[in-house]
């Protein structure tokens, strides 16, 4: 019910969004997906019979206790791992078919150390069509301008020619966002991209992220530990249980956009955070009780 109302509430057509054939088709659909790691006998169930729908243009935040399979969901959607059981459907097709352009950013910025920041950011253009075929021609022209433009937007003007080790963690994470966005992905997968940053840098990047999302309206899946972050950025928040993960709560975030940091201290916002927190404590509590009895 919630899932079906979310897209209509937040979906003015963004300039980068291609028109949809049928709006009823969700951008991402996981049905009865299970993931098991390791060999039989010594296996860990990371995800059990999970169902999840993400609609076009939605900003879904996925929270839960650590080790609950949040990142597993993201890696499934990104096509980095295959489900043990069930199907993952992207834009109406199975993940392997690669129908959608995906941008990904992990907690570790993973810049390639032998490339400059600018070259790192242009990497998706070197790989993904239709940019790939023009890469030779445009890498010193339009593509470079595009990279510089993005860098300026995240406050990294003048750092294009630097190498990754010359930048701080926060700067690398900004560059990481640029790389996830440069090929104008319709799906953005963010795995705790702000997790390793100090609070002020993090809040600044939330604002930048919100601005970019409002401008381009990609479909976003954000995995995070930070409940304020989830409530600040998300149009909808899903809470997962402890391993093997299942989605135990799924609710829209009602606050108006653009949201400000000041809003995160208002009673409504704090109440939402507290509700999420108690859900996660509950999910964790079950796990700890079974692991070490009092």
């Amino acid at each position: 019910m919630i899932a079906s109302m979310a897209p209509s509430a937040v979906l003015p057509a963004g300039d980068l969004m291609e028109p949809l054939a049928g709006r009823t088709v969700p951008a991402v659909e996981l049905s009865k997906v299970s993931v098991t790691f390791g060999q039989a006998g010594d296996s860990v169930a990371a995800l059990a019979e999970t169902n999840l729908r993400i609609h076009e243009g939605e900003f879904l935040a996925l929270v839960g206790p650590s080790g609950c399979g949040k990142s597993t969901i993201l890696r499934l959607v990104g096509g980095l791992i295959q489900p043990t059981e069930g199907v993952v459907i992207l834009g109406g097709r199975e993940v392997a078919a690669r129908a959608l352009r995906i941008g990904m950013a992990f907690q570790n910025p993973t810049m390639l150390p032998w490339l400059t920041i600018e070259q790192n950011i242009m990497l998706p253009l070197k790989i993904v069509e239709p940019f790939r075929s023009q890469f030779r021609k445009e890498k010193r022209g339009a593509f470079r301008d595009k990279a510089h433009d993005l860098l300026a937007q995240v406050g990294l003007k003048g750092f294009a020619g630097k190498f990754p080790w010359q930048l701080s963690g926060g700067m690398l994470q900004r560059a990481n966002l640029c790389r996830a966005l440069i090929h104008e992905p319709r799906m953005l997968m963010l795995d705790e991209p702000f997790g390793a940053l100090d609070q002020f840098t993090r809040e600044e990047l939330w604002a930048i992220m919100q601005k970019m999302w409002l401008a381009h309206r990609p479909t976003v899946l954000l995995v995070t530990h930070d409940l304020r972050e989830a409530a600040f950025l998300g149009t909808r928040i899903c809470v997962m249980s402890a391993r093997p993960g299942r989605i135990v709560d799924d609710a829209p975030v009602p606050f108006a956009r653009p949201r400000t940091i000041a809003m995160t201290f208002e009673p409504d916002f704090v109440a939402l955070n507290q509700r999420l927190r108690s859900l996660i404590v509950e999910a964790r509590g079950g796990a700890t009780a079974s692991e070490d009895p009092p």
């Binding site: 980095l80 690669r98 990904m104 993973t110 390639l112 990497l123 790989i127």
Partner: protein, 258 residues
């Protein structure tokens, strides 16, 4: 930074000079016969006086080494890439490689001579067989230890295996590759000279053998000095190329003085 670097270089140079001066003085003081240990000044004099005769042999040894080295690099890169791309191949092929590399290469020269006669061919093959191993191991290790996170960046974009190898695997392996080139080029020299001393009528190795059977000891040492000089020169060349291509792996420190 720059200053320290120059001081370091001066120290290295000073040590080399000190070594030769010490040698010269020790020989003079002890009255050592030049049939046993000639003085460096005699060696250098011999070297310059006989240069017209030595020159073709120098070229022969250099050419043989470079051909053997080039073939060794080609073979090493291909083999290393094949082995490094897949974990299974890496683990399967490793024991065989270790076995092959632990054969003393002197023992292989007679076989090459048996197959190809004496001369340039066995020398090239010996150089090849002795220098390709460090390259295989380094390329394979570089590829096999590529961080999965770096590969994920491209996988998430839908990149093919070849894209990943080209954009992540190979660049990431470059520092390993160049480190192995510096070692391999000196190994190639060893291989060439080894084969030349056993079965050839040309090359520095042969010059040294002939000179030693004539008790022309200064000439033997001249050959040794020439080999050392060529080895150092090639090492420097590859160090310079390395610091140009893989400066990212060395970061702040200026490249090490060769």
């Amino acid at each position: 930074m720059r200053k320290i670097f120059n001081r370091q270089r001066a120290r290295s140079f000073g040590l080399i000079v000190l070594f030769f001066v010490g040698w010269e003085v020790a020989c003079l003081v002890s009255g050592m016969s030049d049939l046993i240990l000639p003085r460096p000044s005699q060696v250098f004099t011999t070297m310059f006086q006989r240069m017209p005769i030595l020159w073709p042999h120098i070229l022969q040894t250099l050419m043989t080494t470079m051909i053997g080295f080039a073939l060794g690099v080609a073979l090493g890169v291909v083999l290393g890439a094949v082995i490094g791309v897949s974990r299974t191949a890496y683990e399967t092929a490793y024991p065989l490689l270790i076995g092959f590399s632990s054969i003393p290469k002197v023992a292989v020269v007679p076989i090459f001579v048996l197959w190809f006669g004496s001369g340039t061919v066995p020398a090239v093959l010996t150089a090849l067989s002795i220098c390709f191993f460090p390259i295989v191991v380094n390329i394979a290790t570089g590829l096999a230890t590529t961080e999965p996170e770096l590969e994920d960046v491209l996988k998430a974009l839908g990149a093919s295996k070849l894209d990943i190898l080209w954009n992540v695997g190979l660049p990431r392996t470059m520092p390993f590759f160049f480190a192995s080139l510096k070692v391999a080029v000196t190994y190639a020299f060893v291989g060439t000279v080894l084969s030349e001393t056993v079965a050839s009528n040309r090359g520095i190795g042969n010059v040294m053998m002939t000179a030693s059977s004539n008790f022309n000891v200064p000439m033997v040492f001249a050959g040794l000095f020439i080999l050392a000089g060529m080895g150092v020169a090639l090492y420097v060349v590859f160090s310079l190329i390395e610091s140009r291509v893989t400066g990212w792996a060395n970061r702040k420190n200026d490249f090490a003085a060769a």
